[in-house]
């Protein structure tokens, strides 16, 4: 009886997941072992997967996101933590106003944001070059396109991480700061020995979500740079999309997809282990 009620409430979601998640997931796995030969789908064994390791563009896209992981994620989290720290000062005014201002980029419609950034980053007439007094080819020079991409992602997601870190800071009891202050610990030492360990789960959450977001990066390179120039901003998921919907090479697209899944799982696990066992 109870069991049936449980089914009644969960059935709509369960059926939708089965049809629109379970089935395509299995189909994608099957496709990754198939290829197209003269218009016919044939088994290809591990060909699509071995091709991954020989394809220079796969390597290129992995280098691109590794760079973002190494530069953008730490940069963003440090800024977010710094801002959260200042916003956590209890006597500060306009705190909720700041919070709204920082969070707004994260909820902006992707296409709207792409449009604005393309105009702002325009080489000849873009406002950024006007303000800096430079003539930088933001979206057409490989290095600068990467800088622009990193800047855009940072603009969009710093506030999101800040709000989460701020909530983490606010969950730390006030007495702990005070106790540390009475013990005579300097403020930096207070910070490292009292605050950081307690913030670990929240930092871990931010780190893992940012890492997954980077591994699966698609939006920015699709709408801002289309992966270019010279594939400097190509990401694995964008490459997947190009193979699937432009080359119509479904088998290879599926193999790239599963590479991303494997990397996501692996890196999440490593970060989880590294940060969890210490606490």
């Amino acid at each position: 009886m109870r069991g049936r009620a449980g089914w009644f409430f969960t059935a709509p979601a369960a059926v939708l997941f089965a049809v629109f998640f379970g089935y395509p997931l299995v189909a994608s796995l099957v496709q990754s072992f198939q290829t197209d030969a003269d218009g016919e789908t044939v088994w290809a064994g591990f060909d699509n997967y071995t091709r991954l390791f020989q394809d220079p563009l796969v390597g290129r896209s992995l280098v691109n996101i590794a760079l973002i992981l190494a530069v953008q994620v730490p940069l963003m989290l440090v800024i977010a933590l710094g801002l959260a720290q200042v916003l956590n000062l209890s006597w500060l005014r306009f705190r909720s106003g700041y919070r709204v201002a920082y969070f707004l980029p994260a909820v902006t419609t992707l296409v709207a944001y792409a449009v604005v950034f393309r105009v702002l980053l325009n080489t000849d007439s873009g406002l950024l070059n006007q303000i800096l007094g430079t003539h930088i080819d933001w979206l057409n020079d490989p290095t600068m396109a990467r800088v622009a991409l990193i800047g855009s992602i940072t603009w969009r997601w710093t506030g999101y991480n800040m709000v989460i870190l701020l909530a983490g800071l606010q969950a730390i009891p006030k007495e702990q700061y005070e106790a540390a202050a009475i013990d005579g610990a300097g403020s930096l030492r207070t910070y490292v020995s009292v605050i950081v360990p307690q913030l670990r789960p929240v930092l871990l959450f931010c780190l893992i979500t940012s890492t997954i977001g980077t591994l699966q990066l698609f939006d920015e390179s699709f709408v801002l740079t289309s992966g270019g120039p010279d594939n400097a901003t190509l990401t694995p998921v964008l490459y997947l999309y190009e193979n699937g919907f432009q080359q119509l090479d479904f088998g290879y697209a599926a193999a790239i997809a599963w590479l991303v899944v494997a990397l996501t799982g692996l890196l999440s696990l490593v970060q989880f282990r590294a940060l969890r066992t210490k606490s």
């Binding site: 449980g6 969960t10 997931l25 189909a27 700041y98 902006t108 709207a112 007439s125």
Partner: protein, 268 residues
């Protein structure tokens, strides 16, 4: 000292908000004035002219109505499904429950691009390309919303549900009369999240919708970017209109929004 704390915060706020301000400036100027050097810094007087052109070239009012309709239907259906599933998972033991929880976690770990090609082929096979059901159906069941609702219902006292059963209420009636009203804040958070995600949805609608009269705002704007002579001021106005409801919803419900965001990550 106290004033000094505002300095980094203000710099950050200006960087965060400037693109939004620039959107308004650009939406009220002619395209050729925008690309002029130096570009304008203050809003101009071309708002209605840009709006007229946007209506003429892409039928913007039609596109906006499409987006509103699609978003409202999606949000209503998806929120109901999330609430039901969350309740079922929180308060009932049944066969397949563990499997469903595992699937929920899997949907959050697996990038949706993995599903893109098979989903596309599926829609092509049933002849649903260029229909709204193809846009909505694959993402109606939303793990994030389900988890949020499940979390909300876990704390609901079992005694109240038992009391409803003793009074002879049906399980469905207990759900929407007794349990659901208690989870109103979390339901609000789910509604806001689903609204914003569907309003901004881009890649999937772009793949599904071919006819111009069915476009949503993000799809119509991305088509405008692809044109040979890009109408930047029209685009910026469209972008501004696309952003407006999100800003309004976010400002009105920011408390629910933030609490929803923190759902699983932080307690208290």
């Amino acid at each position: 000292m106290k004033r000094l704390a505002h300095l980094p915060l203000l710099v950050g706020a200006v960087v965060s908000l400037f693109p939004f301000y620039w959107m308004i400036v650009a939406a009220t100027h002619r395209t050729r004035d925008l690309l002029h050097s130096p570009p304008p810094f203050l809003p101009g007087d071309q708002l209605f002219e840009n709006l007229r052109r946007l209506e003429e070239t892409v039928g913007f009012s039609r596109v906006t109505l499409n987006t509103v309709g699609l978003t409202v239907v999606y949000t209503a259906l998806s929120s109901v499904i999330s609430a039901m599933c969350g309740y079922g998972l929180a308060k009932f033991r049944f066969r397949g429950r563990g499997l469903l929880l595992a699937v929920l976690l899997a949907t959050m770990m697996i990038p949706f691009q993995v599903l893109l090609v098979p989903l596309f082929q599926m829609m092509a096979n049933v002849g649903w390309i260029d229909t709204y059901q193809a846009v909505i159906l694959p993402f109606l069941a939303n793990s994030f919303g389900i988890f949020l609702m499940r979390q909300a219902f876990l704390d609901f006292p079992d005694e109240l549900i038992e009391a409803g059963r003793l009074d002879g209420c049906s399980e469905a009636r207990i759900f929407y009369r007794i349990v659901l009203p208690a989870a109103r804040p979390q339901l609000a958070a789910v509604v806001i999240f689903t609204f914003i995600s569907q309003w901004s949805a881009f890649i999937w609608p772009l793949l599904m919708l071919n006819s111009e009269d069915k476009y949503t705002i993000p799809v119509a704007l991305s088509r405008m970017i692809g044109q040979s002579r890009v109408d930047y001021s029209g685009l910026m106005l469209g972008a501004f209109i696309a952003t407006l409801p999100i800003m309004a919803v976010f400002l009105a419900f920011q408390k629910q929004f933030v609490s929803g965001l923190l759902g699983g990550s932080v307690k208290g």
